[in-house]
Every structure is written in C-alpha cells, then in structure tokens.
Symmetry: C2
Subunit: 259 residues, 2 copies
C-alpha cells in the first residue's frame, strides 16, 4: 500500500547548488532522492514546499512523496515515520542534511500547494570586524545600520503588492503579486556591533524576493535611501529600481504552516 509522507528537512545550504535536482551537481533534492533509493531501491521523486537557492539554509523545509514500503523482518508491517527518517538519514550521513521529522499524511496533502504561510529569517552581523563562527551563515555588513528606519521602511512591503521590483529577472512565477503578512526585525547586541535578524511571513515569495527586500532595506539602514525611496521603488515595478540582492548566506527557511 502506498502512503504519502511529509518530511521536514534541515540543511546547511553551503554544500549544495540549491534544493532542486540538477545533473552532475550536489543538490538537496538529489541527495535525498539518492538516499531514499539507497534504502528502498525505489526511484522516488519528492515534491518540495519552496525551492531554495544555492547557499540558502533550512531549519524546516517540507517535502512530500509517495512510498510503498514494508519492513522485510517479521512479516510485512508498514514502516513508521521514525524508522523512515532514520533510514534516509543513514544514507545522508555525514552530509549536512537531516530529515528531522516524517509523518504519514492524507493523499491530498501537497507540500507546495498546501502551504498557508512560510517564515524566512535573514541574519546580518553588523560590525567592523569580519565573521568567524558565522561564515556562510550570515551577511557581514561593516557600516552601522539604523534598525529603526529599516523597521519603518519594512512597512512599505507589508500587504498585497506587485513585487516586480523585488523579483529576480529569472523568476518563473506567473504573477508578481504577493502578500507579505508581516516583517519583524530583531536586534541583538554583540561586541562592537549588532546582529540584525529579519523575520518575513507570507504564503509565498517570488524568486529572490526576500533577499532583494533585505538588500534594499540595508540602503535605508545606511542612510542612502529614505523610506519614501523604498515606496517609489516598489511603485516603479521595475527590478532596476530596487536595491541589491543580499547574499544567500544569511537566509534561512524557518517554518512552513499548513493549517
């Protein structure tokens, strides 16, 4: 009997050319499908909630797949979530990808189309001195960023808008209209600087949308742009009117909500 499985995946994006499978290059999807095949000898295609780019991390990416698998020992009992995750992980080790949850779900569960809200987090280490523990895990910005004005400017993005200015030229989404439910900016004091953590909430985001919004907000934080400049950029509906794309290093897919 085929069951549909929902798996939750944690990964360090630095080792992969993004989530989506590509020939002859390590990707998160490619590695997981290889690991599934290694344990059950089946060619399974997984469907992911949101593809991430090269270098982008996930604390809890979601994917689903259908599998007919029975334990060989002691008859034909169906595999449970714990054993399934363990079996896939055994073939992923020591790579920085881990299946951290596996749940049997209804046949109509869809990782991508069923997602109601996603949370992405973007980390900036803002200090004059370079990164050691956070290399590849955060964006290093030397110049002091004013968080209060970035918070003000972030309000421009909240709500339903045409985000053409903030989508990548290669974005394949049919519509540039997206709804940003909320943006929260958290600040932690660190030696000689601050860590700035942006939290983005929305049902879905365009390609590079979060990174382009962060890049633009840092222009405001540096005092190069006003809040009004951000509004004008959004209104322009032209990628060339937007700020730079923040690097993948600081971006984390944090959670996906289905209810």
């Amino acid at each position: 009997m085929t069951k549909r499985w929902k798996i939750t995946i944690e990964y360090d994006g630095r080792s992969y050319a993004g989530f989506q499978k590509q020939p002859d290059i390590a990707t998160v999807q490619g590695e997981i499908e290889r690991a599934i095949k290694a344990f059950c000898q089946q060619d399974i295609r997984i469907t992911v909630a949101g593809r991430t780019d090269s270098g982008v991390h996930a604390q809890a990416q979601i994917a689903h797949f259908d599998l007919d698998y029975r334990h060989a020992d002691g008859g034909a009992r169906l595999i449970n979530g714990f054993d399934l995750a363990k079996a896939i992980n055994a073939h992923l080790m020591p790579q920085p990808i881990s299946i951290i949850d596996a749940q049997e779900v209804d046949d109509d569960f869809h990782a991508r189309f069923g997602a109601k809200e996603k949370q992405y987090t973007y980390r900036i280490i803002n200090r004059p001195y370079g990164l050691a523990l956070d290399q590849g895990r955060a964006w290093w910005r030397k110049t002091h960023l004013d968080v209060e004005t970035m918070q003000e400017a972030a309000k421009v993005f909240i709500g339903r808008h045409d985000f053409t200015t903030f989508r990548d030229a290669e974005c394949q989404a049919k519509s540039p209209i997206r709804t940003v439910d909320d943006i929260q900016i958290e600040v932690k004091e660190i030696l000689n600087g601050q860590e700035i953590i942006f939290h983005f909430f929305g049902m879905s985001f365009l390609h590079h949308q979060v990174r382009n919004m962060v890049g633009t907000l840092t222009l405001v934080g540096e005092g190069k742009w006003s809040v009004d400049d951000v509004q004008k950029a959004l209104d322009a509906k032209d990628r060339k009117a937007g700020g730079p794309t923040a690097p993948a290093d600081g971006l984390y897919l944090v959670s996906i909500n289905y209810t």
Copy 2:
C-alpha cells in the same frame, strides 16, 4: 614605543588543532602570529587567556602581546586598535578566525593571570534525528535528557572543590582545586526535541573539566546516575570515577572578565 595590546578573538575550532601553536599543523595561535608577522614583519608571541582544545570554539577568546609599530604613511603615528585588528584580519582571511576587538592596555595587563572570571557554554541538541546546521557546533544526543535532574546534579559542582575526578589525565595544573561560581542550564524547544545549553562560570577550569562535567551530567539526564552518584564521583578524586568526556563540538569560550 612598545604598546601592550589586548585582542578579542572569535574562531571556529573545527579547522584547528586547538589554540596552542604546534609545528606543522594549523592552530589558532600559529595563524594569528603568522598574520601579525605578515603585516608588520615582526615575530610576536601572543599570550592567551585560556588555551582551547581542537574543535573547541570561541566567541571571545582574549590574548595580549607587545608591539612597536608605526604607520609608515604620513610620518610615525602609532597604530590604533581598529587598524591593528583590520590589518591582522586581512592576513587571516578567509580562515574562520577574526580579531573582533583590539584595545591598548597597561603594561601590567596579563590575558591569563589577570582573568577574574570565564564563561564557557556547552550546547547539546537532544533529538532522535541527526545534525545538519549544527554539525561540529553541538553534541548530538538521541536519548531524552531530563534537564531538571541535571540542574539538581550541577549543584554538586558549584563551589570550591577538588576536581581530580573531572580533570584530564594530561592536565598540567599544579592544583586540582577549582571554584565553579555558577552553572546555569537553559532549554529551548526544537522540533522533536530540545536544545540544552549549559553555562559555566568560574575563574579557571582544569583541562577537560567542563567537558567531563557535561559528560557526567548527561548520565544523570539519562537516568543512569543519581545526583548522589555525582557527589560520590566528585568525592572519589579519581578520573576513573567520573563520566565520559563530552566532545569538543559543543564547547564555546564565551567571555572572559578582567574586573
């Protein structure tokens, strides 16, 4: 004129065979002294607050050294802390070591002998599924650990004791007597488990003392040892009476206080 400098160092311990310089192998001290020489052509020996073992991380290690250096440009003005840190970092890049502060200090400042209190943190990811983002950055423990009983057992270590049971056989300290000022255990909920963060405070610790205390506390957390067993182990003054040494991965030197 020679000045004494106090530098604060962040590093990812995974890339180094510990802090202390060794021939033909990358160490944090070796790399920093190489970087100092690269920028000022002087053989400088740095003195560190607390040597860390291979794989142990630092958020704010402290070292001092004496240097007579003047900017060549525009006369002979003395270098400032910001430029000094930047110059060393330029020769450390892209290694995961960063000088995150440099301060001119009095000639009697001593990174090691002047330290009044150190804080070490130890991270455990306690869940059935393996590590991805925290590989080499935390200790993975599959079995559920009871934090309340570990907190109770940690009290055994607080205060002035003979820590022979918890020092490494190779520890070179003259006395096994140390004072643990405090141990705090923080818990964060994570998917299918918990992150446990131990905070240790004390003027100094013996070789492997923190890792041996953590290893022993996990025996209590698993229910294999009682709080009383920890007391007996401490009283035995015998390394063989203690629990296992927790791996370096989870250990961070967090701060050193000089006042």
